[in-house]
């Protein structure tokens, strides 16, 4: 056992074959399986979501990011070490969902923000221009507009590759925010959102068994 542990690399696991493609996860973390439910008129009903988002975004505060590197857009930031630098992810990229202008992330106005991110995988280098594409599907005649920040849900390649917890301690994951705009007035407003990674050959967005591989689906119910 000890011998086995000695053979382990502290920085990088030996194999990454089982996570060749990242999964997608959303924030705030829903209590029940991927269903958000709140009422605009009851701040208590979405307080948890807001806190979760705030907590999640703490490392992204400009204060925390100030030591990070400003990287060139659109290119992989491959590094050779021994010190690995992380790229800044300015919160303002998330615009209305950054929480900077609206500490309630749109929930109080009925335009809730959901953050979508790709799972971290060491050494992953996306090809092409990955972006997260979300589609909303609501019941009845209701139509929903989905706004994505950064625009079109783009994920900049400069945030890749990831070099692991130990070497790349200050690494910040790129995020994509989705904001919902309900147009109809009937309540409760219910919408199912499906997001998936597109635009990159080596990032799968469909797997028979794994519903989170490169995609994620969630439901938002907004009561009056």
């Amino acid at each position: 056992m000890w011998v086995m542990l000695q053979t382990l690399n502290d920085e990088v696991p030996k194999y990454r074959d089982q996570i060749s493609s990242p999964g997608l996860t959303v924030f705030p973390k829903p209590v029940t399986a991927l269903e958000y439910s709140f009422s605009v008129s009851e701040p208590e009903s979405y307080k948890g979501y807001i806190e979760d988002l705030k907590k999640f975004l703490t490392p992204y505060a400009s204060e925390a990011q100030k030591n990070l590197k400003v990287c060139t857009d659109g290119a992989l930031s491959e590094q050779k070490g021994p010190v690995y630098e992380a790229c800044q992810f300015p919160l303002n990229l998330l615009e209305a969902c950054s929480g900077e202008n609206d500490p309630e992330f749109g929930y109080s106005q009925g335009h809730p923000c959901i953050l979508v991110k790709m799972n971290r995988i060491i050494g992953l280098k996306p090809q092409g221009q990955p972006r997260i594409e979300c589609t909303g599907n609501s019941k009845g005649e209701n139509t929903t507009t989905l706004l994505a920040y950064p625009p079109e849900g783009n994920i900049d390649l400069k945030y890749f590759p990831y070099y692991g917890k130990k070497l790349h301690a200050s690494y910040l994951q790129p995020l994509v925010a989705v904001q919902l705009n309900y147009t109809a007035s009937s309540t409760p407003k219910e919408v199912t959102v499906e997001c998936k990674i597109v635009g990159s050959k080596n990032l799968k967005n469909y797997d028979d068994r794994d519903k989170f591989l490169g995609r994620v689906a969630f439901k938002i119910t907004m009561r009056a």
Partner: protein, 1039 residues
Amino acid sequence: MGQKTPRIYSVELNGAKDMKQTDKGDGKDKYRGLQDNCLELRNNQRQEHLTKEIDLDDHKLSNKELETKYHTNIVTGLSSTQAAELLARDGPNALSPPKETPEIIKFLKQMVGGFSILLWAGAILCWIAYGIQYSSDKSSSLDNVYLGTVLALVVILTGIFAYYQEAKSTNIMASFSKMIPQQALVIRDSEKKIIPAEQLVVGDIVEIKGGDQIPADIRLLFAQGCKVDNSSLTGESEPQSRSCEFTHDDPLETKNIGFYSTTCLEGTATGMVINTGDRTIIGQIASLASGVGNEKTPIAIEIKHFVHIVAGVAISIGVLFFIIAVSMKYRVLDSIIFLIGIIVANVPEGLLATVTVTLSLTAKRMAKKNCLVKNLEAVETLGSTSIICSDKTGTLTQNRMTVAHLWFDNQIFMADTSEDQLKQTFDQSSGTWASLSKIIALCNRAEFRPGQERVPIMKRVVVGDASETALLKFSEVVLGDVMEIRKRNHKVAEIPFNSTNKFQLSIHKTDDPIDKRFLMVMKGAPEKVLEKCSTIMVNGQEQPLNNSTAEAFYTAYMELGGLGERVLGFCHLYLPADEFPETYSFDVDAMNFPMSDLCFVGLLSMIDPPRSTVPDAITKCRSAGIKVIMVTGDHPITAKAIAKSVGIISANSETVEDIAKRLNIAVEQVNKQDAKAAVVTGMELKDMSEDQLDEVLTSYPEIVFARTSPQQKLIIVEGCQRQDAVVAVTGDGVNDSPALKKADIGIAMGIAGSDAAKNAADMVLLDDNFASIVTGVEEGRLIFDNLKKTIAYTLTKNIAELCPFLIYIIVGVPLPLGTITILFIDLGTDIVPSIALAYEKAESDIMNRKPRHKKEDRLVNKPLAVYSYLHIGIMQSLGAFLVYFTVYAQEGFRPSTLINLRVEWEKDSVNNLEDSYGQEWTRYQRKYLEWTGYTAFFIGIMVQQIADLIIRKTRRNSIFQQGLFRNKVIWVGIASQIIIALILSYGLGSITALNFTMLRPQYWFVAVPHAILIWVYDEVRKLFIRLYPGSWWDKNMYY
């Protein structure tokens, strides 16, 4: 036998006597013995019924009274209508076969044995667990349902297999009993008719003649020279004369009753049927067998014991971890699921199948060696046998009279008595021999059936009685074509043997063309023959018979008689040509030829010789600590002689009587401690109390029971069982069936055995040979040892399968080994290897150790359980965990991260679980990794089970002493393990339903150092056992 010493056999040469009737005795004791048994067993209702029935009084009635009682007529018989009515009322005149257990019951019985119960319990617990899970979470995994179903399937399939195996042996047996339907000559409607004996009814008048089997219990109305052989009923082998007079109050002793299934040897008789079918005496005795309970087989007891151990371990671990789980704040419902899971994980799923297959493999092997096993469990019973009660005739002996000794020229010569005697080697140069051989060849009525020229002499079929057959074969071997000799020496007159004359005589023209004299040859009871002689031939010369030659004759006669042999005297006389010219007409009724002053030529003695393999087999039994007791209906002298020649009584052992004779003191004065052997007769046995019998059985290592009735066998068996012995009994007669059933293992004779005996027995000896029993014992012992190994092998990995679950509960790591994966070990990779252990050769000479003690030498003992569970089992678990942790660590989850990860790991909503390196995993990615972990753990166990398999080859010897490659099947087993694992991991890697994934080749080798360690550890264990026998180590580490 002490009163008229020395007692010598008289000669019986008459009729169609078969080998069972070698001697003569006082038959009445037998009957008494039978009745006493009936009285002794009176508490049994059936027996009470029997004694009552025996009080039948038909023998006391006059013919007239009988006619009234049975509404029949002695002259005209019954009318056909009457007979048909009676047949409808009483049913056919046949012994109803023992109640056949319905096939479905037999089948179901296979499914509820000791082991099966364990598996059923497991299956039900699984379903209960699923029920609990389902009630709290509708989407819970179906693993428990699968597991329960598989457990149930294992029981059912194994049951079908065992049922099929036993049905197969039963079929083989059935093929033996192709009985020719018996016919009876009956008077009905004033006509003589031949009808099947089955249709006889009470009141029928039947006629019987010599050679017939008596078709029902009959009251004799007319008899002429009628003799019957009652041996099948009483064990008494001496022919009994029968007449129509009422001679005794007791129906069994009176002369005017003939019993169903006994044989009429000679004469003719007419009788009225008084009992048919099961109401006959023999029918009632046969039904006794069903009143004797079948004993539980030792292996069944062992398996029950084993089930108790497994259940005990399972429940204690289960409860312990239930308490731990509850105190760790698991939900009670979850804890119950854990409890059930732990209990079920302890069930060795594959063992039932393995044990059944192993037993049937051995059964097959035994069948090849002529032991047909009816009940699979009996395979092992034979191995634990500590006393064998064996018949003599046919089992220990060849069941064939053979010339054993000759006496002529004042010298005793020994003849070859082996089964396939090709030539006789004694000195044949003397002139006396020339004369003697001629008498032997000529004074003989037996003939070979024609058309057997190519058959070896000893195997040819002969028409004639046993003694004549022996003489014919003997002379055929020595002289060549006897038929041709007889043709050349034309027979002109003959007096056949009869019991009043006790001699046989014939007169021949000789083949010497010059010598025109007739040759008269005679053989018979030696003293009768000698009476008629005045001269004796010595070295080819006639000498007057004087006192000293007569003395020599008597000495030889005694000596041969003392060997238990049947002695015949031979004499001849050349009739003077002047008195008996060629044209002389001999008249055997007028006896117009001399009957005195003959010339005595020699003696010849015959015996039913022991089978040549028997002495070896007895020696083997002795070194194997098995006591062989001979139980025979024969005369004590013959019994003792055969016992001595086969070694049941060893060369230097003496009976009390021997010592008395040697020291010339009274039998009572002999110190009984000095005697090692004892010959107990049925008479003596009858007068013994249970305690006295126990004393005889314990104080003499060598015992022969002679002149015993089949009923007394039961008493002897019970006596042996009181000594805590596992008793094997051989038998063939209907009357043996109670003893066969009572015995721990009843062995019926395949050739000589009756259907009733075969039905009551657990095993059938296809060749009736005692030596086959010994091979059976050897196989039985081997299977016990090998079953131990199989169980040890199986139990070991049980721990390796259980630990993951325990660690999962306590430490909270992702589940290392799934239920389905466990099934693939238990019912997949491990099956062939555990069966392969059945092919393992014995470690040391298993026939040199004592039979195992029923209550001390258990199949699964403490050292076995402790060593398997706690030593090798734990080592194996560690090895498998190493593979598991390696896989997880190399994929990103270090052991430290895994601890207490369980809850997060299993949450479906967590799709970004972080590993030790900051990578995030979706639920499915984790699941896949978990399956890889299962596969890794599986491979880890598999690799170490190879080592486990190798170390289980021996329990004491080093593997290198045993030979690594001697048992090829082990390697087949290892290959099967590897191949199944390869298929599961690579062939079915994509079928996720089975929870197997492709595993990197290098992970296959992670557990190899552990496997080697296991091997080395076990070698050290065995080394210390060998170095320090009897030490603490030996006692606690040898299983």
